[in-house]
C-alpha cells in the first residue's frame, strides 16, 4: 500500500512539474501548447546524450538537459508562439501540434526511434514501515514540493512574478501601466519549458525514453490542467497529485487501465464543473 502511495506521489510530482508550464502558457497567453511535449522529450534525450556520450555525472547531465532545452524553447516561442498571440485558439493548437510533429521527427532523426532505458541514478532503497522504497522516487516527490514552494515565492515575492500574476488576471490593465507584458510572458514560457525538460529528465530513469514519450504524458498533463483549472497554480498542484494517485491506485488493480482512468475522472469532473475557456 505504501508502495502504491509513493508511486502515486512520484507520478503526481512528475505530472505537476510538467503541467505548470502548460497551465501558465494557457493562463498567460491563451495558448494550448502541444510543443510542450517536444520540450519534455528533448530534455530526456539530452540527458541521455550528456550522461552516456559525454560522460557527465547524472546531476550534471540533468542540468545540461534542462539548460540546453532553453534555447530551443526560445526559438519555438519567438517564431511560433509569439505569432499566435491574440489568434483564435484553433490555430494555436494546430501550429503547436505541428511543432510537436516536427520535433518528434527530429528526435527520431538524431537519436533513432528505438526506446532507450536508463538505470536509477541513485540505485539505493530505503525502508519505511517495512516497505523498501527507491530513494530516487522520494527525491522526485521532495523536488516537486520544493518547486511548488519556489514558484509560490517567485509569484508572490518577486516583481517579475507579481507582474505575471497580474497579467494572468487582466492583461490589458497591466499593459496600460506601461509594462511590456508579453516579455514577461516569454520569461514564464521559458520557465515552464525548463520545468518540462526537468520533468523529462526526472522521469527518464523510471520509464523508457522514446520519441513518442511526449504524446503520452501530454494527454495526462492536459487532464491535470483541465481538472485543476487552466492557469491556476494551486489547482494544478492539487490535481496533479490527485490524478497521480488515480493512476497508481488503478494500476494496482488493473495495469492497462491506469492512464485511461485519468480521462474518466476528467470527464466526471467536467460534468460537475463546466469550464469556459
Amino acid at each position: 500500500m505504501i508502495g502504491t502511495l509513493i508511486y502515486g506521489l512520484t507520478i503526481g510530482g512528475i505530472l505537476y512539474i510538467i503541467s505548470i508550464g502548460l497551465s501558465l502558457t494557457f493562463g498567460t497567453m491563451r495558448i494550448v501548447n502541444f510543443a510542450h511535449a517536444f520540450v519534455y522529450a528533448l530534455g530526456a534525450y539530452l540527458l541521455i546524450t550528456a550522461f552516456r556520450k559525454m560522460g557527465l555525472s547524472f546531476l550534471a547531465a540533468a542540468g545540461f538537459g534542462v539548460l540546453a532545452v532553453l534555447p530551443v524553447a526560445y526559438v519555438i516561442e519567438a517564431y511560433v508562439i509569439r505569432r499566435l498571440y491574440g489568434e483564435s485558439l484553433d490555430y494555436a493548437i494546430i501550429a503547436t501540434y505541428a511543432v510537436l510533429l516536427i520535433g518528434v521527427d527530429l528526435i527520431k532523426w538524431v537519436w533513432g526511434a528505438s526506446p532507450i532505458s536508463l538505470n536509477d541514478p541513485i540505485g539505493k532503497d530505503v525502508e519505511i514501515l517495512g516497505v523498501s522504497l527507491p530513494v530516487y522516487r522520494l527525491v522526485i516527490i521532495t523536488l516537486a514540493f520544493v518547486i511548488y514552494g519556489g514558484l509560490y515565492l517567485f509569484f508572490r515575492k518577486t516583481i517579475v512574478g507579481k507582474i505575471v500574476i497580474a497579467g494572468l488576471d487582466d492583461k490589458d490593465a497591466v499593459r496600460s501601466l506601461g509594462i511590456d507584458v508579453d516579455r514577461y510572458f516569454s520569461i514564464v514560457f521559458l520557465l515552464g519549458s525548463g520545468l518540462a525538460a526537468l520533468g523529462g529528465v526526472l522521469y527518464a530513469p523510471i520509464t523508457s525514453v522514446h520519441p513518442y514519450m511526449g504524446f503520452q504524458i501530454l494527454l495526462l498533463c492536459f487532464a491535470v490542467v483541465i481538472v485543476g483549472g487552466m492557469g491556476s497554480l494551486h489547482g494544478t498542484f492539487l490535481s496533479a497529485f490527485a490524478l497521480g494517485m488515480v493512476i497508481s491506485l488503478t494500476g494496482r488493480f488493473w495495469g492497462p487501465a491506469a492512464e485511461t482512468m485519468v480521462f474518466v475522472v476528467m470527464a466526471v469532473v467536467l460534468i460537475f464543473k463546466p469550464i469556459d475557456v
Binding site: F26, V32, V80, R83, L89, D90, Y91, I93, I94, A95, Y97, A98, V99, L100, L101, I102, G103, V104, D105, L106, K108, W109, F215, L219, F222, A223, I226, M230, P256, A257, E259, T260, F263, V264, M266, A267, L270, I271, P274, I275, D276, V277
Partner: protein, 314 residues
C-alpha cells in the same frame, strides 16, 4: 460569391473521382472517397460550428467496430450493418455530446481527445475479447440482391453515391436555418443565445450528426477493406483529418472534398518518397496556419473574385 458551375457540383464530384480512376487502383480510389466523407463530417464541426475537435477518430472507430461486430454477431446484411454503425456512432455522440459541447476552444479539443483515448483503450484492451485487440478482426458481409461488398466496382459506386448523397444533404443542412445558426455560433455564440436560441441543442445536434457521418465513413472503410484494427480509432491519426480540412479550406464543403483528395494524394504517394513524413506534415501545417489560412478553396475563390473585380473595373 457566385460560381457558375455550382448547379452541377454533384456531377462534378462524380466526374472528378471517375477521372482519378485511371491513375489509381479502384480500392484506393474508394478509400479516397470514404476519406472525403470523413472530412465532410469533420468540416461540419470545425468549419461550420467552429469547434476544433482532436478526437474525430473516435466516431470513425465507433462506426468501424459497430459494423464489424454487427455483421459478426447479428446479421451479415451490409445495409443493416451500415445503418447500425451510423446509429451506434451517433449514439456515442449523443451520449458524450452533452459533456463535450458545453466547452469551447481548448477544452473542447482536449476533451474530444480524451474520449478518443478512452475509446482506443476500450477496443484495444478492455474489450479485446470481442474486438480482437491489437490484431483486429475481419468482417464478412452477405450478398443482398445484386449488391456484393466483395465486388470492388460495386463498393466504389456505392461509396461514390454515398459521398454525393452526404455532400448534398450537408449542402442543404448548412444552408438551412439550422446551418446558419451553427455559423452564428461560430461567429458569436453569446449573441445567438441572446436572440433566444438554445445553442446547446444546436451544438449537440451538430455533434451527433457529425459523429454519425464519421461513423458512416468508418463503416464504409470496413466494407472496402474487410477488416478492422485499432488504427481506425487511433488518437494519433486525428491530425490527418484536421490537415485535410485545412488544405481544402475550413467551412466549405467543396474545400473539404478538395482537401480530402489532396491529403490522400500527398499521404499515399509523397510519403513513399519523403523519408521524414511527420516533419513534412508539421511544416505543411505551419505553412497552412501562417500563410494559407483559407486553403485551396479560399485561394481559388479569391482568385476568381479578383479576376471578376478586374473585369468590372475595366
Amino acid at each position: 460569391m457566385k460560381i457558375p458551375w455550382k448547379k452541377y457540383d454533384c456531377l462534378l464530384i462524380v466526374a472528378g473521382f471517375l477521372l482519378l480512376l485511371p491513375f489509381l487502383k479502384i480500392q484506393r480510389t474508394t478509400d479516397f472517397i470514404i476519406f472525403c466523407v470523413f472530412v465532410l463530417s469533420y468540416d461540419l464541426l470545425y468549419g461550420y460550428m467552429g469547434r476544433l475537435s482532436f478526437g474525430p477518430m473516435l466516431f470513425l472507430g465507433a462506426g468501424a467496430y459497430a459494423v464489424t461486430l454487427f455483421s459478426e454477431h447479428l446479421s451479415p446484411n451490409p445495409f443493416l450493418a451500415l445503418s447500425f454503425a451510423v446509429v451506434a456512432a451517433a449514439a456515442v455522440g449523443a451520449l458524450i455530446g452533452p459533456i463535450i459541447v458545453r466547452t469551447t476552444g481548448a477544452a473542447f479539443a482536449l476533451i474530444n481527445l480524451a474520449f478518443n483515448q478512452i475509446g482506443h483503450f476500450l477496443v484495444l484492451i478492455a474489450f479485446a475479447k470481442y474486438t480482437g485487440g491489437e490484431d483486429g478482426m475481419s468482417a464478412h458481409f452477405s450478398k443482398v440482391g445484386f449488391f456484393d461488398v466483395q465486388d470492388r466496382t460495386m463498393i466504389f459506386v456505392f461509396s461514390l453515391f454515398c459521398l454525393v448523397l452526404a455532400f448534398y444533404l450537408l449542402k442543404r443542412l448548412t444552408s438551412s436555418p439550422f446551418g446558419i445558426l451553427l455559423r452564428t455560433i461560430k461567429e458569436n455564440e453569446t449573441r445567438a443565445r441572446f436572440l433566444g436560441y438554445d445553442t446547446f441543442l444546436y451544438k449537440w445536434g451538430a455533434f451527433v450528426i457529425s459523429g454519425g457521418l464519421a461513423g458512416f465513413a468508418g463503416a464504409l472503410s470496413i466494407m472496402n477493406y474487410g477488416y478492422v484494427t485499432p488504427s481506425f480509432i487511433d488518437p494519433h491519426r486525428n491530425v490527418e483529418v484536421i490537415f485535410a480540412v485545412l488544405i481544402g479550406g475550413a467551412g466549405n464543403l467543396y474545400g473539404a472534398i478538395i482537401g480530402g483528395v489532396a491529403y490522400m494524394v500527398v499521404s499515399n504517394y509523397l510519403a513513399t518518397y519523403i523519408a521524414r513524413w511527420e516533419m513534412f506534415l508539421g511544416i505543411g501545417l505551419l505553412l497552412l496556419v501562417f500563410r494559407f489560412r483559407t486553403g485551396v478553396w479560399g485561394a481559388v475563390t479569391g482568385l476568381l473574385a479578383s479576376r471578376r473585380g478586374e473585369a468590372e473595373t475595366r
